[in-house]
């Protein structure tokens, strides 16, 4: 069964950019959320294998989502894709269990590199 991937970002442009930058041979069905609360609702009701997570979002930010994923021991991988590139912030999301940090705007090459590294493609 193909993986279900959640793309969570408050910007439509960023969601579309990411969708389009995923490797062509990546076999997955994609769902989207436009803030952290929407993302958590999806994560609690659907089996999601991989999340592309923005950090700066209304309602609930990406750090809040990571904390909830950790607290509820949800079984999904998270790749943070964010414009908040401060080293402290990168460290913080990695400490909260993110698989990788990709700076925005995410290039197709960088996404392929990270996904290959973790055996997702």
């Amino acid at each position: 069964m193909a993986l279900t991937v959640l793309i969570c970002d408050d910007s439509l442009l960023a969601r579309n950019q990411l969708k389009k930058s995923l490797p062509a041979d990546f076999d997955a069905s994609i769902v989207t959320a436009s803030n952290g609360l929407e993302a958590l609702a999806i994560l609690r009701s659907t089996e999601i294998g991989l999340v592309f997570l923005d950090l700066t979002m209304p309602e609930l930010d990406g750090v809040g989502v990571l904390e909830a994923i950790k607290a509820e021991a949800m079984d999904c991988l998270v790749i943070v894709v964010s414009a908040d590139i401060q080293p402290e912030m990168q460290k913080r999301v990695m400490d909260l269990g993110a698989l990788a940090f990709v700076r925005k705007p995410a290039s197709a090459e960088k996404l392929a590199e990270v996904m290959h590294k973790y055996g997702l493609i």
């Binding site: 408050d10 910007s11 442009l13 700066t56 414009a83 912030m89 925005k104």
Partner: protein, 204 residues
Amino acid sequence: MTTLYFTEEQRDCLQELVNVAMGQASDKLARYLDTLVHLQVPAIALVETEQLPEHFARRYPQHNASLISLGFFGDQGLRGETIMLYQLENVGVIAQLLGYDDDDSSEAEMLTDISSVLTTTFLNGLAEQLENSFSYAAPRILSSRDQHFVQKLADTASQWQLALQVDIRYQLIDYSFNCDMMLLVPGEAVLQLRQMLNKVLAGF
């Protein structure tokens, strides 16, 4: 004037470009101040420049605020001016953070320094995403603590047609300060900007 407005798609696109550029500016600020900056979703709004002074007069009841201006010039007629607005109580916080003396001349120097860091990093980030490049005029102090900032803002804003109002809150771990950034652009630059946004949108 309505022809200068953006579609929802263009607004979303610009907001995301601003978000990325702000991320870069915050990273610079965090390194400059050696702290972590808490980023918030930038609230952006396109308004006619004549509405700006009233907006800020309502937002800040006190008369004193410092305004620092930086002009920018890009390719394809994209040009404008950024204005950073600092309220006085925030000026004190920044001075403490950076270890500046509490006198007028060093206050001016400090605000010019921090505005340069923030606006040039922000604008370079924006230009890069638009496949443009900007050059900059030297920063100018439009208004300092003894002047009525709303009148100064009105004088400057009247030279431009449209303003991109970006409310930025740089929230630090130990101290907090807020400042506002305004991007003022002339009408023909807005038309250019719209075309550039359409080009970005067409790529996705």
